[in-house]
Symmetry: C2
Subunit: 345 residues, 2 copies
Amino acid sequence: MDKIAVDAMGGDFAPLEIVKGAVLAVRDFHVPVVLVGDKEQIVKVLKDNHADQEPLIEICHASQVIGMGEHPGMAFRKKKDASVSVGAKLVKNGECGALVAPGSTGAAVTAGLLGMGRVDGIERPAILTPIPNRKDGYTFLIDSGASAQPKPETLLQNALMGYVYAKKVWHIENPRIGLLNIGEESTKGSPVVTEAYEWLSGQKVVPFAGNAEGRDIMSGEFDVIVTDGFTGNVVLKFGEGAASLFSALLKKSVEKGGLRAKLGAFLLKPALKKYLVKRLDYAEYGGAPLMGIKGGLIICHGASQARAIRNAIHMAKDFCEARVVDVIAEAVVQIEKEAGRLKED
Amino acid sequence: MDKIAVDAMGGDFAPLEIVKGAVLAVRDFHVPVVLVGDKEQIVKVLKDNHADQEPLIEICHASQVIGMGEHPGMAFRKKKDASVSVGAKLVKNGECGALVAPGSTGAAVTAGLLGMGRVDGIERPAILTPIPNRKDGYTFLIDSGASAQPKPETLLQNALMGYVYAKKVWHIENPRIGLLNIGEESTKGSPVVTEAYEWLSGQKVVPFAGNAEGRDIMSGEFDVIVTDGFTGNVVLKFGEGAASLFSALLKKSVEKGGLRAKLGAFLLKPALKKYLVKRLDYAEYGGAPLMGIKGGLIICHGASQARAIRNAIHMAKDFCEARVVDVIAEAVVQIEKEAGRLKED
């Protein structure tokens, strides 16, 4: 089984929650983990959690950390011994199959792109984020923020990578792939999107179910929703903002609703936690894979705690076992042939 | 006072709810209204609601209706006597100051664009949608779906129109105008957005507060968020989808949570309705103005009922009283001069 590298120094609760999450993953899934970061601090947390003798846990020392506020590209070049860079190197040289990276998304994308390199033929890596949908499952939004330059080729490749992920990692037999647009008709939308629509319709590598609209990101009508990293990032952050407004209004209702509302909230709380809060919690799946690079890289929220890290490590394990990188490398040759043919038409 | 034309045949609940909404508006705000549509049906609803003798209500007969499923452009050309077109004509020829249009957004935009015409100098009209924010107010998202072709010029003009609306109609003294992007730094984002950032920073007509991110659409940190109609439309529909997922999960929690959860929900419900549901209900403000055309046009949700129509008519009244069209026409001359200067740089 591939080892999973974990950047133990990334995110708001490093190294404590990251290391705790790794210990959970090792015990629950028997997956070998390499904790990357300050050895002394990591050992201390392991000891505190009675896991310093755990045979499936290794430590790889790294003396630097890239912070949330730093410019990812510059920090990557300057801090050669940053934990996220060292983790990417472990994947690059084959010691690990994937890296789990909490903390700065920019730093993780840079480490993946420059530290591991792109899959041949893939123009731009893309972040795939699972979004909870109304059918009790997840819809994968790709790209949710790696590349802000929308081009038809990029959208075609995003569709391909989303398809591979849905099919190989989540074992969805016939994934429905939709192109995010502002209407169902093929002629709707910006020039880039209408061109991507034509390309997607004209090829046979990825099954294409047509245009999807904003509301379909959560409707469950699609398994994969393809978009550019600008729109995807806006959607994702807007979703966070909407959840936070919703939760603020919920709190306000309880506060202003008097004793009756307070009692109601007290009674309703366990069910809300179980069926609503949990369903919307990113810790349930752990992170978002960066697709299109030569290796696994699961980007985790900066606020990730142990359970999110545990689940991200599971995601990384699945990613490796499904041989996603190889499958993408094979499929991209096919789809680029078709794209070339479509371009000539 | 300007008369307000109302497309009485538009939307899912026409003419009943539209006419009832107009009656409410006339009585609450003493605004003169012209109901456009099938005279016989309108008179019947007025009689049923004891409003057929209302002196502030006129009827303008129109024999056709543009349905939700029709292609807006084609339908507009073919159905010369469609209620939405006749309503636009009333504004064009000066009989009314604004049109309230429930039903197909595409048909309303087409009627505004072709039936009323653009303000000189405005390249593309834009929909301005009020989004509830965390500071108990609204943030105006412009463009939320009129034009899918993102250009720096368009974003600059959207900023201008959003500014005029916030300042003149909502009387916000120093509106904070943000450019929707994927990071706070000026160099972030797609080429169109970085260019728009430079232009916005380089001019003095519109106060520019810098980049805003997806989460700022609801954070209340900005009064106006400027974007292209593609991103704006996706955001808006995603918001609807998120609200509907949230409400589905809330229902599920109550259903699956047993007697305790049901009792809790019963107790909490009045407070939720008052502080959460009402706050997120578009009926509270009624509709979204189409900015940049020669006249007022308030686009309403297809599912609008009486209260939404009443409030949209109030919005139309405010729009007329603030002389939005004239102010935009004056300001666009200024900003185009600055844009020309910036282009030459």
